[in-house]
């Protein structure tokens, strides 16, 4: 079984985003960028399935600028076999990303697609579910455990009240939650080896996808700022404040 892993290049999770003065978006110039953390978890899961002999090949895909090659090289250094960059400088919305991924899935015929549950820049939490819909296949979202049982996939999902497990017919789409695994670091030899792994470059038009945005960003602004309040000297003062608030 082949596994497709879409990975997105996003602002590093340790960086505090700054809004551009003209309110058109977040300033990404000279900002550290990394693989979306949930996608690292997706790559790790795919590699583990390969190590278990469940998967035969792991293909990483990214839709984004030329620089997204770095993200794909990271996936290759972790252990993916080859990569596809669908290159575009436009911001591509989840719906269009899902359509491109559908085009790639038609060509590659993966048994499983593992995505992150959410990109930490747009916070959309949509692409996996959309891809599953376009493929007409089942979806195991917010996965904390994935097990292959003959022609089926057993997925344990993190849901509001706890956990839920579902059985999906393969091919299927899975999106990762934080507790699925702890992604490995790529070793230096593997980083070197990744440089010679195949990386194909395509464009959205190769898959016949129009990436024109459906949503117009009217403006981007700061959330209301909360001012730091006061420090209380001791527990008794805190108790008095809690009483004032009417909670004690």
């Amino acid at each position: 079984m082949k596994i497709l892993v879409p990975v997105k290049r996003v602002i590093d999770y340790n960086v505090k985003p700054r809004i551009k003065a003209d309110g058109t978006g977040v300033d990404l110039a000279n900002v550290k960028m990394s693989m979306n953390p949930f996608d690292e978890i997706a790559v790790e899961e795919a590699i583990r399935l390969k190590e278990k002999g469940v998967a035969s090949e792991v293909v990483a895909v990214s839709v984004g600028p030329a620089k997204a090659q770095e993200t794909l090289r990271t996936a290759l250094a972790m252990g993916a076999d080859r990569a596809i960059l669908v290159q575009t400088d436009d911001a591509v919305e989840p719906l269009a990303v899902a359509k491109i991924l559908k085009g790639i899935a038609d060509e590659e015929q993966p048994g499983l697609v593992i995505l992150g549950k959410q990109a930490i820049d747009d916070d959309c939490n949509q692409t996996g579910q959309m891809l599953a819909a376009l493929m007409g296949r089942p979806q195991g979202t917010f996965a904390s455990e994935v097990a292959c049982e003959d022609e089926h996939l057993l997925v344990t999902r993190e849901v509001d009240g706890g956990f839920e497990s579902v059985r999906l017919a393969l091919p299927a789409v899975v999106t990762t939650d934080l507790r699925l695994n702890e992604p490995r670091y790529a070793s230096l030899p593997n980083i070197m080896k990744a440089k010679s792994k195949p990386l194909a470059t395509k464009s959205p038009t190769d898959y016949g996808v129009d990436t024109a945005p459906r949503l117009k960003t009217v403006k981007v602004s700061e959330p209301p700022v909360r001012q730091a309040g006061i420090k209380v000297p001791d527990v008794d003062t805190l108790v008095a404040k809690l009483k004032e608030l009417g909670v004690a």
Binding site: Y13, P17, V26, E93, P94, L95, A98, I120, D121, D123, C124, N125, Q126, T127, Q129, M130, A132, A133, L134, P138, Q139, T141, F142, L154, R157, E158, V159, D160, G161, G162, F163, E164, S165, V166, R167, A169, L178, R179, L215, K216, V218, K219, V220, E222, P223, A228, G229, I230, K231, V232, D234, V235, L238, V239, K241, L242, K243, L245, V247, A248
Partner: protein, 314 residues
């Protein structure tokens, strides 16, 4: 007037709170219709019809809809969307699972987690862990939206009497089946609707220490218990306690953060709380930059004393 279809989250009897916030958001866009899909969900359909401001309730009762499997529910919704202009779901784990599947089938770009309705097709939504609020305008013919529960007041659950109409969908898509759920039952209030939350972080050391330190304070205050990702990852408490960008979004009247440093991912889930109180031994912890009341102290000293003093004064 445009017609809005709202997916109702329920347990076959009662309607979940997050749905009531979604109803309020939907009512700012157009005429609100509800979809109650489930198996043996007549009582939930009746409860839905009593929500104030609803024009119609559709009930789809079929074993295939029992566990809100997106593969089965999405086609049902898509069918009803032929005579609706927008689909709205609460941004709960079920809503987030179903809505994008509907959106793709309708060829619509979903607007996730809206904070406000600014026009017929214009909404605000959080991005970058809530550090950038985007105002977006849709150019799609129909809308698909999920609603952040803390951003809208809840519609009144009783007082309405909307007509109920039974609908039939295509049932089981044959792609997925529900196996089991492990839903923790707790006497404590639910995180997303609690008035007071006590949350613990990595500093709580282990599950036993978390239990012995955080829970007595929460019980004294009648509060729900939450946690940072670090505390959940370390196994102090189950995953559904996680508050933050990628966990639950909460906005209680009072939020007490204990041994939580205040990473942006955590703040994303709680910074709209009424009053934020932080207890941390590091006076430079970022949590103090947004806390209304801060106590710089060792939590293992301060929290038991706080609990004790509160109990004495009761």
């Amino acid at each position: 007037m445009s017609k809005i279809l709202v997916w109702v989250e329920h347990d076959n009897a009662a309607i979940k709170d997050a749905t009531l916030a979604a109803v309020t958001a939907a009512s700012q866009i157009g005429e609100v219709h509800l979809l109650v899909a489930g198996s043996g969900c007549a009582a939930a359909g009746h409860a839905a019809s009593q929500i104030v401001g609803i024009a119609k309730v559709y009930v789809a009762d079929d074993v295939a809809y029992a566990n809100a499997l997106a593969e089965n529910v999405a086609p049902l919704i898509v069918g009803l969307m032929s005579h609706h202009d927008a689909f709205v779901a609460p941004a709960t784990s079920n809503g987030k699972n179903i809505a994008p599947r509907v959106a793709a089938l309708l060829d619509v770009m979903q607007i996730s987690d809206i904070l406000s309705v600014d026009g017929p097709k214009t909404f605000t939504r959080p991005t970058y862990a809530g550090n950038a609020i985007a105002t977006v305008e849709s150019s799609d013919a129909k809308l698909v939206i999920t609603v952040r529960g803390t951003a809208f007041i809840k519609a009144a659950p009783e007082g309405g009497s909307a007509p109920i109409e039974a609908v039939v969908g295509s049932g089981d898509a044959g792609l997925s089946s529900f196996v089991a759920a492990e839903i923790a039952l707790s006497e404590r209030p639910e995180l997303t609707s609690a008035k007071v939350i006590v949350a613990g972080g990595r500093a709580l050391k282990d599950a036993d220490t978390f239990q012995a330190t955080i829970f007595p304070l929460a019980d004294t205050l009648g509060a729900a218990v939450g946690a940072s990702r670090a505390a959940v990852d370390a196994g102090y408490v189950p995953n559904d306690y996680q508050i933050g960008q990628t966990g639950k979004i909460v906005a209680p009247d009072v939020y007490i953060a204990i041994g939580i440093s205040g990473a942006i991912q955590h703040l994303a889930g709680m910074k709209d709380s009424g009053t934020i109180i932080a207890i941390d031994k590091d006076e430079d912890a970022p949590i103090f930059q947004i806390a209304d009341l801060g106590l710089v102290a060792d939590l293992f000293d301060a929290v038991p004393r706080l609990t004790h003093t509160l109990q004495e004064k009761k």
